[in-house]
């Protein structure tokens, strides 16, 4: 097992190098440089510009800059934000818990809804329930998450309030005035997490249904039924556990989508997370911060995939930890 994890970690190295190089290249091969706007400013003295160029290391060739940057990265140093010269790492770590709270809640919500829906659809194959679920899920798959977010706000925050029903907060992470407790924070979490979960619910329900149907058709299920086990224990004891195995990989693969979705959802719901930080940085032309955040998203995704692989090999002993 340890060997497997070590091997997987080693395999990640070229991937990490590729990702860092790609990000670096996108930011650094821009025609012009961060100082080119300063050069247009008549008040900027040439010696100042030269000093800034040297401080930012822009006088060195790109490979030297890449290696330096990579070296710093290894120490957890992503440079200084161009907007206010605070360390990028601090800015990112500051909002990271918020993003993780939102994304893990969304993932958990998606699982809690998708798994029973998918399993029931498969068990009641071709029933009314199955067909309705399929229709709803197909429709959900075509809904852009950010539109869903806006609709949820209009319905549950604006209209419900107008109709005098209990309503949910439209944005933010907690009530500004009362600096709310747990209940208040949960209330703020419901809408953005649902909007983020919906895309995954659509995909996973279909997947679990297909996987479950396939498993139910297997010989060992027929054997279990033939030896007289009650249907309940056949479905939930035998089929269910095997059908859910691939879900581990699926959750891992969904991570880029979920983190990508966080960009939009955080923006709509004014959720103070990594996506919103990045977007604000793009508007401020704060390249170092955008670059750091992009890398961070990539790292999170890769770490998630690695975790999924490890979990999968624990869950399914047939999958060789040797290969």
């Amino acid at each position: 097992m340890t060997g497997f994890i070590v091997r997987r970690l080693l395999q990640m190295i070229p991937l990490l190098l590729g990702v860092t190089f790609l990000t670096f290249a996108i930011v650094n091969f821009v025609p012009g440089s961060p100082v080119s706007t300063m050069q247009m400013n008549p008040k900027a003295r040439p010696e100042d510009i030269e000093r800034i160029t040297r401080n930012l290391g822009l006088d060195k060739p790109w490979y030297e800059r890449y290696l330096n940057w990579l070296g710093d990265l290894l120490h957890g140093d992503m440079g200084l934000s161009l907007a206010n010269y605070t360390p990028v790492t601090d800015r990112i770590l500051g909002v990271l818990p918020n993003t993780l709270l939102l994304t893990t809640t969304a993932l958990a919500l998606a699982l809690v809804i998708a798994v029973p829906l998918g399993v029931l659809s498969a068990v009641k194959h071709n029933s009314m329930f199955d067909q309705t679920t399929t229709v709803i899920v197909t429709a959900l798959a075509a809904i852009p998450s950010f539109w869903m977010g806006l609709l949820l706000i209009i319905l549950f925050a604006v209209k419900f309030k107008a109709w005098g029903l209990p309503y949910l907060p439209a944005s933010g992470m907690q009530d500004m005035r009362s600096a709310g407790g747990v209940v208040d924070r949960i209330e703020h979490l419901i809408l953005p997490a649902s909007a983020l979960a919906i895309v995954q619910i659509a995909g996973w329900t279909r997947f679990i249904r297909a996987s479950m149907l396939e498993t139910i058709g297997q010989d060992y299920i027929r054997t279990a039924e033939a030896k007289g086990l009650p249907r309940r224990s056949v479905i939930y004891g035998h089929a269910f556990r095997n059908a859910l195995l691939p879900l581990v990989t699926l959750v891992g693969l969904a991570l880029p989508e979920v983190f990508g979705g966080a960009y939009l959802i955080e923006q709509i719901f004014a959720w103070n997370g990594l996506g919103r930080l990045t977007l604000n940085a793009t508007q401020a032309n704060d390249y170092t911060l955008v670059m750091g955040a992009t890398l961070f998203f990539a790292f999170l995704t890769m770490a998630g995939n690695l975790l999924a692989d490890i979990l999968y090999s624990i869950a399914d002993p047939r999958i060789g930890t040797k290969s």
Partner: protein, 312 residues
């Protein structure tokens, strides 16, 4: 393992939906007709096709709608009539914060979104299938290098790279479509590669090789035609995804730039006054939703129709 397993899974899933590798067509016209007959039997797919046609005609006749139906240009401001509700002040579907006609902008926005997604999907398909064919057919180190490259792109959330690229380069409409393709080809290349590898080991390829066919001919005449259906199905899945991604990017203010309307940037703008004019939020999203849904359903119909084993 995840990457490989995922690819294998996708390929396996797609193959189980249609055994392309053995469905070598001798009478192509006949197969096409049979596929169309099967497609027609699927009512949902046919209705979706009609809906999609309606959306395409609506979008492509944006100029006509502007001249004859609404009488407004898509960037014509009437600040005194801003935020009209549907039907109010002669705006059929209302007006936005600048008093621009929503119906006209929906049509122009549709044109922008649809052409963008189709263009990006075609270029992605071109890049992805060339990479997939080459990697799958050549194997060995060519395969390894190309697929490691694909892995790198697949391991980053594509929207975050798109945000990075758009915020730094501020690409125009066509450049942005190209950026989409350059970032999103790995998905299709994986599928085409898997399919090519499966085909490469089929007896008919050996037979063609033995009778002296060059590599170029093997790929062009024997493998490519068998990979085409899977590429078509892939396109039907990815065009909606591209429409949504473009809308998402425009919604973040980084995609199609105003005053050129796109469904995404209309949503961005409408977000600021959803309290008073919820219909302005509802309509562009509804267009995206209907387009994506109809293409998805057509894709399902295509998949069933193109699968030779699905005689029902």
């Amino acid at each position: 393992m995840s990457e490989g397993a995922a690819a294998a899974q996708t390929t396996e899933r797609l193959r189980s939906q249609g055994d392309w590798s053995t469905g070598v067509s001798s009478n192509r016209g006949g197969n096409l007709q049979r596929a169309w007959r099967r497609f027609k039997r699927n009512h949902v797919a046919v209705i979706s096709l009609a809906v999609l046609f309606a959306i395409i005609i609506f979008s492509l006749s944006a100029g006509l709608i502007s001249t004859y139906v609404t009488g407004y240009d898509y960037e014509e401001n009437h600040l005194d009539l801003a935020r009209s509700h549907p039907g109010q002040n002669g705006y059929i579907l209302g007006s936005d914060a600048n008093g621009r006609d929503v119906l006209t902008r929906l049509a122009y926005g549709g044109r922008v979104s649809l052409i963008f997604a189709t263009m990006a999907a075609l270029v992605t398909l071109l890049i992805g299938s060339i990479v997939g064919l080459v990697a799958g057919f050549a194997g060995r180190w060519t395969d390894s290098i190309l697929m490691r490259f694909a892995d790198v792109l697949l391991s980053i959330p594509s929207i975050s790279i798109l945000v990075l690229v758009s915020s730094i380069y501020r690409p125009g409409y066509f450049t942005l479509a190209l950026v989409f393709s350059l970032l999103l080809w790995p998905g299709v290349s994986r599928i085409v590669r898997g399919e090519t590898i499966a085909l490469r080991n089929q007896p008919f390829i050996d037979a063609a090789r033995v009778s002296g066919a060059s590599n170029k001919r093997l790929v062009g005449r024997h493998i490519l035609p068998n990979v085409l259906p899977i590429m078509l199905i892939w396109a039907s899945q990815v065009i909606p995804a591209f429409i949504i991604t473009e809308a998402a990017l425009s919604f973040l203010g980084l995609g199609v730039q105003p005053p050129r309307p796109s469904w995404g940037n209309m949503l961005l703008e409408a977000q600021n006054y959803y309290m008073t004019n919820p219909s302005n939020v509802f309509l562009p999203g509804l267009m995206i939703f209907l387009t994506a849904l109809s293409i998805n359903l057509i894709g399902n119909g295509l998949r069933d129709a193109l699968d030779p084993r699905m005689e029902r």
